[in-house]
Amino acid sequence: MSVAELKEKHAAATETVNNLRERLKQRRQQLLDTDVAGYARSQGKSPLTFGPTDLLCCRTLQGHTGKVYSLDWTPERNRIVSASQDGRLIVWNALTSQKTHAIKLPCAWVMTCAFSPAGQSVACGGLDSMCSIFNLNSQTDRDGNLPVSKTLSGHKGYVSCCQYVPDEDIHIITSSGDQTCVLWDITTGLRTSVFGGEFQSGHTADVLSVSINGSNSRMFVSGSCDATARLWDSRVASRAVRTFHGHEGDVNTVKFFPDGNRFGTGSDDGTCRLFDIRTGHQLQVYYQQHGDNEVPHVTSIAFSISGRLLFAGYSNGDCYVWDTLLAKVVLNLGSVQNSHEGRITCLGLSADGSALCTGSSDTNLKIWAFGGHRRVI
């Protein structure tokens, strides 16, 4: 077959795919009889009200000398690892504000960090295209630096995000500017599976974020510059289980909902969205005008432990607290007393849900907890 004939077939196939996508979009639209907020209102759900001092900044963690790009909590004992433009990871005891480790990185251009489930190791990745593992119990070298205990190399682009598979310290999932996600075996340093890429169906642009399902650790979602999120089964690397369309810009951040049947996304289009993993439905859009016709990008999100609250950091310094059921902003942590002086770049909830940690371009991390009067029903 000649190139010209192939190109004709290509054009026909493109039209087929576009028609199928349009049919799918319309059929899906017919099934969207309500969004979450519409349903919650029909059930008479009361709005949340937060007093001005209900969510308080109770700790400020100082020590980085550059913007904080990423943070992660341990599953226990309230420790946090943070990664910064200063080329370091710091491990904090969030309760006492003490630093337990300050790790100078071989490559200063770090973008992501993660705590292992057992709390013995931390991982990081960035523009060196590698994921580096540090054992927190190992001896420092003669310069006082913690040595790299394992290097996971194989990505052909920057490592944007990493997360350990829950309940085991052996496997980690990374996302990359090379358009793939990879599941690694840390013991061998080898790739167990590659999701997407040149020879498999997957994202068609840089992948910026991953989130593993806490209820079913075989499932994870990824968010990409191709404006989609994709759900993967780690046992099936050949194709995504489902692709979620809707965003009109890069999907910068993805996070599983606490019940494991939904996940949230944050995008350059200024919206957060909630998707259902079993049906693929877009259940809710979270968007509110910020003022001055600006549409700031969503840079990071986290859910409270019940899922009632969605915390979203924006590129203009706002940090909206959304009521996920009624799709209303109940608080802006970016403008309360004692808030960060720069924009919030990363967010994370403690394992017991009692505290939110925010990291900022002002070089600090802050811990927020509920300091008001709690009513039990």
Binding site: H10, G63, S97, S201, P258
Partner: protein, 130 residues
């Protein structure tokens, strides 16, 4: 001269640039392509073959995508409406105790208030790591 491109809207490394790839716009999205460095003049026939393989690979990908979309269209006929998912979500959210909510299900766990049991702005360890 090599440069490292700032890869996203991260205000990441404003000074350093290292050319690994040249990026091209494709309907608003960035796509990474490899910039070919011609070593010698290629024959028209060889160039035709390279173009053919690329188009064939792309065609295969589109045919695969079409199959996936047809599968999804079949699945969607058996799918529940969005209200069912909303109902389930409401039930799950309201049944779980949440320490960050002013009104929540019990039981209250005392450790939720650990953040206010010591000095709120801890005096310890404000050292800078240089």
């Amino acid at each position: 001269m090599f440069f490292l491109m700032p890869l996203k809207s991260f205000n990441f490394c404003p000074f350093f640039f290292l050319f690994l790839h040249r990026r091209e716009m494709q309907s608003g999205r960035l796509k990474t392509v490899v910039s070919p460095i011609p070593q010698r003049i290629r024959s028209f026939q060889a160039a035709d073959t390279r173009g053919k393989h690329r188009v064939q690979a792309e065609l295969k990908r589109l045919e695969q995508e079409a199959r996936f979309l047809e599968e999804e269209l079949e699945q969607i006929e058996r799918m529940e409406k969005a209200s069912a998912a909303s109902k389930e979500m409401l039930g799950n959210v309201e049944s779980k105790p949440d320490p960050l909510l002013p009104v929540t299900n019990g039981p209250i766990i005392p450790v939720w208030d650990q953040w206010f049991e010591g000095p709120q702005e801890a005096q310890g360890c404000k050292c800078w790591i240089l």
